[in-house]
Structures are given as C-alpha cells and as structure tokens.
C-alpha cells in the first residue's frame, strides 16, 4: 500500500486539518467530533441539512458544506459510519430551532447510527427528520435484505434539499422534497481496480488485467458480476441499461451524474459521458442537467458510476439554485 498519509489511523483527522487550513473563511471544523460546519450555521429560521457517513468518498460529504447545500457533514472513519454522538453534535451545531434533516445513505451502520442520534436529539427537543438514499440498482431490493445502497443519488438529494432549506422551506417541505428526489434516483457503477482501505493495507479485491467488477459499491463491496473489460461504448450500456430497466425515465426531465470513483481521470469520464448521453438520447431520455466528475468516490478506485434522477420542476429549480461549497459551486 502506497498512500500520501502519515498513518492509517490519522487519515481522517489529517484531512480535516487540511480542510481547516484550506478554507478558514467558509468552514468551521469541529475536530473532536469530526464535523465540517458551514461558517454561517446555525442560521436562524433555516432548516438544517446534515449528512455524513464513512470517509473516503470525498468530496461527498464534506465538499458539499456551504450556502445552498449542507450545514454540516459528519465524517466517520474510512468507510465506517460515524457514531451517534458525532451526529448528535452535528444536530446541536446546526439546529436553529427550525429543525434538521438527516440525509443518510442506506447502509446498515449508517442507518442505525443516524437513527440513534435522531432519538437522542429528539429527546433534547430538536425536531429531526431523515431521508434514506437507496439508489444503487446493482443490489436487489427486497424486504428480506439490507436493501439498496446509497450512492451517487446522494449528491442530488443533498443539492436539492440544501437549496430548499436555503430558500426557507419548512422541515416537512424539505423532507418531502428530499424523499421524492431520493425515490427518483437510480445508479449503477463499475470498477476497473480496487480501492485499498488504509487500515487494511491491501486491496479489497483483486481484478485481473482484463477484468472489471460490474455493480461495484462505493466501499469496494463486490458487485453483480465480474466481466471482461470492453470498449467504453459497451460499458456505458452495461451501466445505463439496468437503470432504465428499473424505472421509466422517458416521461420527465432527467438529471444525469457521470461520476468517477476517484482514480479515473476526467478525460475518461467525459468519454464515458459521450456514450451515456448518446445511449440516453437513443432511448428517448431527455437530459435536463448533468454533472461530470468525481463526486462520490471510493478512495483511489478506478471506475465510474452513472446516476439518473427523474426530476420535476421543483427539483430542477432547486438544482439550479446557487450553491457555494468546495465541491460544487454555481
């Protein structure tokens, strides 16, 4: 394992020190609780929007803190959900009395830790709602499993919910919109190489020089199948087809995210997007907005994911609203 780190145990703390040094004017860092807090939080009367999860997916979530998006991001250890008291501290830091929305990716650990935090905060009189993002079509959804993973769709939920909160919507309104957005999101990813968890010291899985893992999770969880590498034109279809099979995207404007897993260069992501947009056009899908780049990563994994969100006017309006974070600005 070769990484630009001091020690596997200090990766998250060191990165937060770096964020503190880089963005003193816009972010407050609570090092003890590993919180990245918008300089203007809490804002009287504004619903707080909070997310978090294991680290290693940057810019998600810390890169999305700022006006128009998140009030606080809670950083767990690499690939490990933060603890309830971290999330509680985030709620305490951001709540202005207008209540708080927790945006949670659907992993057993995240769901339980955020749930426990919500119970603790409710006991303190904080009005807490939560929305679970579960958009990964690689995973079969069933009542008898942990359900689908939360992946790329999280960015869209955070953007839309953050803008709605910024615009003065109530907790109930922000929550309903966030839930609708999460419900309208579908994603599928693939890996060309594994990530290496610092504490593990070796790649999570091994792929041969001509193999890809289709349906990869953002923690290096293996996917649907191991396949031969193919031209990106074909790989784009392997990502898009299961998404379109899962939900009809032809009857509404669509937000598309062409997302890198961390180790794939931008030149390849644009090449993938060229194929994805051709495929979607051929299928009668109307791309209303798009985002190409590294947004929900898996450490240094090479690979990419595609997310489609079936949007309505309100979602598009809040998608377009100004945002000022280190990872997204417009």
């Amino acid at each position: 394992m070769k990484k630009l780190i001091n020690d596997p145990g200090t990766v998250v703390a060191d990165a937060l020190r770096g964020m503190a040094a880089a963005h003193p004017g816009t972010l407050k860092i609570d090092h003890a609780n590993r919180l990245v807090i918008s300089i203007d939080a809490p804002r009287p009367g504004k619903v707080a929007v909070i997310s978090g999860g294991g680290s290693g997916h940057e810019p998600l979530h810390s890169g999305f803190v700022g006006p128009g998006m998140l009030d606080v991001a809670v950083a767990g250890e690499v690939f490990t959900s933060p603890t309830p008291d971290q999330v509680l501290a985030a709620l305490q830091a951001a709540d202005s009395g207008a209540g708080a929305l927790l945006i949670v990716k659907n992993y057993t650990g995240d769901v339980m830790n955020f749930e426990m935090a919500g119970e603790l905060a409710a006991a303190e009189g904080i009005d807490v709602a939560s929305v679970i993002v579960a958009d990964d079509v690689a995973v079969t959804d069933s009542l008898y499993t942990a359900g689908r993973r939360g992946v790329g769709g999280t960015v869209v939920v955070e953007k839309v919910a953050g803008a709605a909160a910024q615009a003065g919507c109530t907790l109930a309104e922000v929550t309903a919109l966030a839930q609708r957005t999460a419900d309208a999101a579908r994603s599928m990813g693939l890996a060309l190489t594994s990530c290496t968890v610092p504490a593990a010291g070796r790649p999570t899985f091994d792929l041969a020089d001509d193999e890809i893992e289709l349906g990869i999770g953002i923690h290096g969880e293996p996917g649907r199948s191991r396949e031969q590498i193919a031209p990106v034109r074909e790989l784009a279809a392997r990502l898009v087809t299961p998404i379109l099979e899962d939900l009809d995207f032809t009857d509404a404007p669509v937000i598309v995210l062409c997302n890198g897993m961390g180790g794939t260069p931008l030149i390849e992501l644009y090449g993938l997007y060229a194929e994805v947009s051709d495929l979607l056009a051929a299928q009668g899908v109307q791309i209303a907005r798009n985002l190409v780049g590294n947004y929900v990563t898996s450490l240094e994994m090479a690979g990419a994911s595609v997310t489609l969100v079936k949007a309505d006017d309100e979602m598009l309006e809040y998608w377009d609203a100004p945002v000022s974070t280190t990872g997204l600005q417009w």
Partner: protein
C-alpha cells in the same frame, strides 16, 4: 461468582485483547465480504472500553452500561450500534449486585441478544453476529454444567456455520451468492466475546 465492575472488566479486557490479536483476521474476513474495516472498528472500540477503570463504577451494571456507551461512541459502522445495544440491554438486565449464577445471567444474555435483533432486524441464518450469539444463548440455557463453556463452543460452531451461508443482512448481503465461503466477521468477533466470557466469568 460475585458480580462486580472488576469481574466484568476482566471479561471485556480479555475480549479487547482477543480482538487486538485477531484484528488482521477480522479485517481480512470483512475485506472479502464487506468493506475491510471490522478489525479496525472493533480494536478502536474495545481499546476504549479496556481503558475504563472499574474502580470508577459503583456496580457491575453501571460499568457495563458505560462500556456499551463507549462502544457506541467509538466504533461506528454496523458493529458499533449492535455491540453497544447488546451490552446496554445486557447491563440493564443484570441484577443490581451480589452473586450471580446461570439463572441470573440467562435473562441478561437473552435481553442483550434480543436488543441486537431489534436494532438490526436480522435473524438466524442471515450470516451475521446473531449466528454466533443466538446458539450461544441457547447452549447457555440448556447447559447442565459449565454453561459459559457450552456457550463458547456453540458460538464457535455458530461462527463456523456462517461460512457456507449466503448473507441477507449487512454489507455482505450485496454479494448475494458470492458471500458464501467466508465466515462472517461479526460472528467471528462475537465468538471471541463469548469465549472471553468463558475464560473470565466461568
């Protein structure tokens, strides 16, 4: 046996030592069917628990409750809330103080394991820590002699029985059929918990 913070700390410190010794194994199992952090998670949590000074606690119950809160606030992931809930419920169901025997331990163990079920909504055969814990409690109850020893053996057997299972809960479930062939990391750490009990509480 007298129920005291010292005795219970003996148990959880033995558990911490076993976790530290098996960190690489736990991480490697989780690497194969999860996300490669179970070893680091459990070491972080049990190290913090081992640092609690039993002398600071009035009774066994409050020590266990503090250990549970420590796990919850240091482990994270799935195992943090689950082990935390296990100890929280177990602690609450312990008698105030004084001597404790098989009949005294049984409701506490049962409450702990039921807490894990309530929190994680998994059941037997889902390839989770419950596949070590549930057989352990059943064996503890059924034992006519050396219940902890029986529980430890059942937990180890339960852990081994997770190898061929297909996971239905937790991160390993994403693998579907490919989750078979590897022991569940949480079942492996849970077997260490019961084995440590057999060495320290028997």
């Amino acid at each position: 046996m007298e129920l005291s913070p010292q005795i219970l700390a003996g148990w959880l410190r033995a558990f911490a030592a076993d976790i530290a010794e098996n960190e690489a194994l736990l991480t490697d199992l989780d690497r194969q069917i999860g996300d490669a952090d179970h070893g680091a998670n459990m070491v972080r949590g049990t190290t913090a628990v081992a640092q609690l000074d039993p002398a600071d606690f009035a009774d066994g119950r409050s020590y266990v409750k503090k250990a549970a809160m420590t796990l919850i606030s240091t482990v994270g992931g799935a195992s943090g809330p689950l082990y935390g809930t296990l100890l929280l419920r177990l602690g609450s169901a312990l008698p105030d103080d004084g001597p404790i025997d098989q009949a005294g331990w049984l409701p506490a163990l049962r409450a702990g394991v039921e807490g894990v079920v309530a929190r994680g909504k998994a059941g037997p055969g889902d390839k989770t820590m419950l596949d070590a814990l549930i057989p352990a409690v059943e064996a503890f109850e059924a034992a006519t002699d050396q219940p902890w020893q029986a529980a430890a053996e059942a937990a180890a057997a339960g852990r081994d029985a997770t190898v061929p299972m297909i996971a239905h809960k937790g991160r390993a479930s994403y693998l579907g059929e490919r989750s078979a062939g590897v022991a569940d990391p949480g079942a492996t750490s849970s077997a260490l918990l019961i084995e440590a009990a057999a060495r320290t509480l028997a």
